[in-house]
């Protein structure tokens, strides 16, 4: 760098504006199709925008600015929609994401560790095939699982019938997986009933979710030096001591961001929920995103939908601040 010629003023100017030139295309495009719509979203969230205003938009004579009415209606449950309580949906949404990640991460790690066993036959084939759930379109996954949980012909009830027959109960099992509203474990999550549909979705999403965690864990496992295990086994550490003393702490820096990533994905997991239960029964498995889609796609209350999206935005902001803290805290842990 020291050898450089003295820059002329033209070069200096060029260097000053160059970064902005590189940014220009992205900001022009995003300005038109991302930022402007976001601002427009906030504006219409204060109006009673409905289908009849579509033609003239904000210029419609009957379009009224209603202040915070949409927000208040959403938060107090005053929307003319059955079974909608914002805070129940919000609580369920957090619980849904959290309970999924708590299952996916340990399962993914355990399976990755198992497949990392030295000298295991066919491990490459297993690893390649275990990723398949990730690439099946959500609509297909959801339709298959909806069929498995069918109350009449579903494979799950048939399996349960076979199992209960082993214990001497000969009556066929008829669990109404996707339609029963009474929660099987009352009061498990205070304020938000966890219906059978929630457990059915947990099973389906477990199938969908652990493979990615397993792939990430595999990558992290392979970067752990083997010498550590050799040294530990020379010192007489058992397998489980090695697992808790070496594997788990060294996987942590990779798995915490992966868990955070999984949490945000699951929090907004539209496809599986929309296609499998549609948020039912009685909105007990509704997520914020599926309800938002219902508002704009079926009810066509654009004003309310905009207000709902603004609320989702702030919920995501809170989620981000929390997860950021977790990631940062664990970074310090791994550096210490």
């Amino acid at each position: 760098m020291a050898l450089k010629k003295k820059p002329t003023s033209a070069v200096k100017l060029q260097r000053k504006i160059l970064p902005y030139l590189y940014l220009l295309p992205a900001f022009l495009v995003m300005g038109a199709i991302t930022f402007y719509p976001l601002i427009y979203q906030v504006i219409i969230s204060f109006t009673n925008f409905e289908t009849k205003h579509l033609l003239l938009g904000l210029n419609s004579p009957e379009l009224k600015f209603v202040g915070f009415k949409n927000y208040i209606d959403i938060l107090t449950g005053a929307l003319p929609v059955e079974n909608f309580n914002f805070f129940r949906v919000l609580e369920f949404n957090f619980w849904w994401a959290l309970s999924n990640v708590f299952l996916h991460v340990p399962a993914g790690v355990l399976i990755a560790v198992m497949l990392n066993t030295e000298g295991l036959w066919l491990k490459k084939i297993y690893r390649a095939l275990y990723i398949l759930p990730v690439v099946v379109p959500p609509i297909v996954v959801a339709t298959v699982w909806r069929n498995i949980f069918d109350e009449q012909y579903g494979a799950m009830n048939q399996l349960l019938t076979t199992i209960s027959a082993l214990f001497g109960h000969l009556d066929p099992v008829h669990l109404r997986w996707l339609t029963e509203y009474t929660p099987p474990i009352p009061g498990f999550l205070p304020g938000a009933p966890l219906t059978l549909a929630y457990y059915a979705m947990m099973i389906a999403n477990f199938w969908l979710g652990w493979p990615l965690m397993s792939v990430i864990a595999t990558g992290a496992l392979q970067s752990i030096p083997k010498d550590l295990y050799e040294a530990a086994s020379i010192d007489g550490a058992t397998g489980s001591q090695q697992f808790w003393g070496i594997t788990v702490p060294l996987l942590r820096p990779a798995m915490i961001p992966a868990a955070v990533y999984g949490f945000t994905i699951t929090f907004n997991l539209f496809g599986l929920v929309f296609f499998m239960t549609g948020g039912g029964p009685a909105r007990s498995t509704e997520l914020l995103v599926t309800f938002a889609y219902n508002l704009v796609r079926n009810l066509r209350w654009f004003g309310v939908a905009a207000a709902f999206a603004v609320i989702i935005f702030f919920v995501s902001l809170v989620v981000l601040l929390i997860t950021n803290r977790i990631t940062r805290a664990t970074q310090n842990y791994s550096e210490a």
């Binding site: 991302t34 198992m114 990558g219 990779a254 992966a258 704009v296």
Partner: protein, 337 residues
């Protein structure tokens, strides 16, 4: 994340050398009983992973549209009639499979390429330059990531719905809102940006850009600066550095970012289902949804399954082949930001 220990290296020479020269590899053999135990476990997991997929494949090879009353995983008959029907006449509407395929491919590839082209220069600027407002602009790019696609779809629907081409009669066409027909006549609607694949592409791009910029910036940050400094000493300016050094080095990551976007766009449903109303614009993912009804008994199961296999297959093959790169790409850029 990407494993590069010599033991598992794909380079046969390194593997060979490793086996021969390192006397320190653990010589412990896996005892047979443990091998068998883990094999049984692995096979069981493999079964749980594969059975929904086997179920769909089996259904797709059946000649009956009715739903089987039990979970059949091994096909009892091999009939390609469902595939033939789906390829000949995918929906009840007069739209061919080729058109649906063209819509899906056009949308996925188009959005992927545009997002990549627009994002890469911005990612470069954020990664390599220090300028005023850098932090502010970076936060600005991050903000839309907090809004899920469903959330952004409302204003985009309304804004794109305002852009129309109408026929005012007598061969005069007007682009609304730039021009209107004379005398305020309404005219006949010929094109509505909202109700078109182009409009859907615009809306998906709006959501895809912030991720593409952050993902690429995260990767460019990992390219060592020494190369550029060396180039600068040799007299290359920033533009040359970008085109001749950064872009070629980032090419693998560009491909990965493109493919991650491609998978998402290929399966995209939310925006296309909200925006599009004409069957000729439908994508493959929308067609799949169209085949499922409210009740499982009303689904033409073998055709649905055949369509599902056709839609999932291309993505699955590439994903399995590029698995390491895709997961590495997700974790370098997406998570660490």
């Amino acid at each position: 994340m990407i494993n590069d220990s010599p033991k598992n290296s794909s380079n046969p020479i390194i593997r060979f050398l490793n086996i021969n020269t390192s006397g320190q590899t653990s010589g412990r053999d896996l005892p047979l009983w443990r091998q068998l135990l883990i094999q049984v476990l692995s096979l069981f997991i493999l079964f749980t992973v594969l059975f929904p997929i086997m179920y769909i494949v089996t259904l797709s090879l059946s000649s009956k549209t009715t739903r089987p009353s039990s979970l059949q995983l091994i096909p009892t008959e091999i009939s390609f009639i469902a595939y033939k029907q789906v390829l000949d006449h995918p929906t009840g509407n007069p739209v061919s499979f080729v058109e649906l395929l063209r819509n899906s491919v056009g949308l996925s590839v188009g959005v992927g390429l545009v997002a990549l082209l627009v994002a890469v220069t911005a990612a470069y600027a954020f990664s390599r330059f220090n300028f005023r407002m850098r932090e502010v602009l970076m936060v600005l790019v991050f903000i839309p990531l907090l809004m899920p696609a469903v959330g952004l779809s409302t204003p985009l629907y309304l804004l794109l719905n305002n852009i129309k081409v109408v026929d005012c009669g007598e061969g005069v066409k007007a682009i609304i809102p730039l021009f209107t027909c004379d005398g305020g006549a309404k005219g006949k609607l010929i094109f509505n940006l909202r109700d078109s694949l182009l409009g859907v592409g615009v809306a998906i791009t709006a959501g895809a850009l912030p991720f593409a910029i952050w993902n690429l910036k995260g990767y460019l940050d990992t390219i060592p600066k020494e190369l550029e400094e060396a180039a600068a000493i040799d007299g290359a300016d920033s533009n040359q550095t970008f085109w001749k050094i950064i872009l070629p080095l980032a090419a693998p990551q560009l491909a990965v970012t493109f493919f991650i976007g491609f998978i998402g766009n290929w399966q995209e449903f939310v925006i296309s289902w909200l925006f599009l109303s004409q069957p000729k614009d439908y994508t493959l993912a929308m067609t799949l949804y169209n085949m499922t009804g409210q009740y499982a008994s009303s689904i033409p199961w073998n055709r649905f399954a055949a369509m599902a296999v056709i839609v999932a297959m291309p993505v699955a093959v590439v994903y399995v082949a590029l698995q390491k790169q895709i997961v590495g790409g997700l974790t370098t850029g997406g998570v660490k930001g």
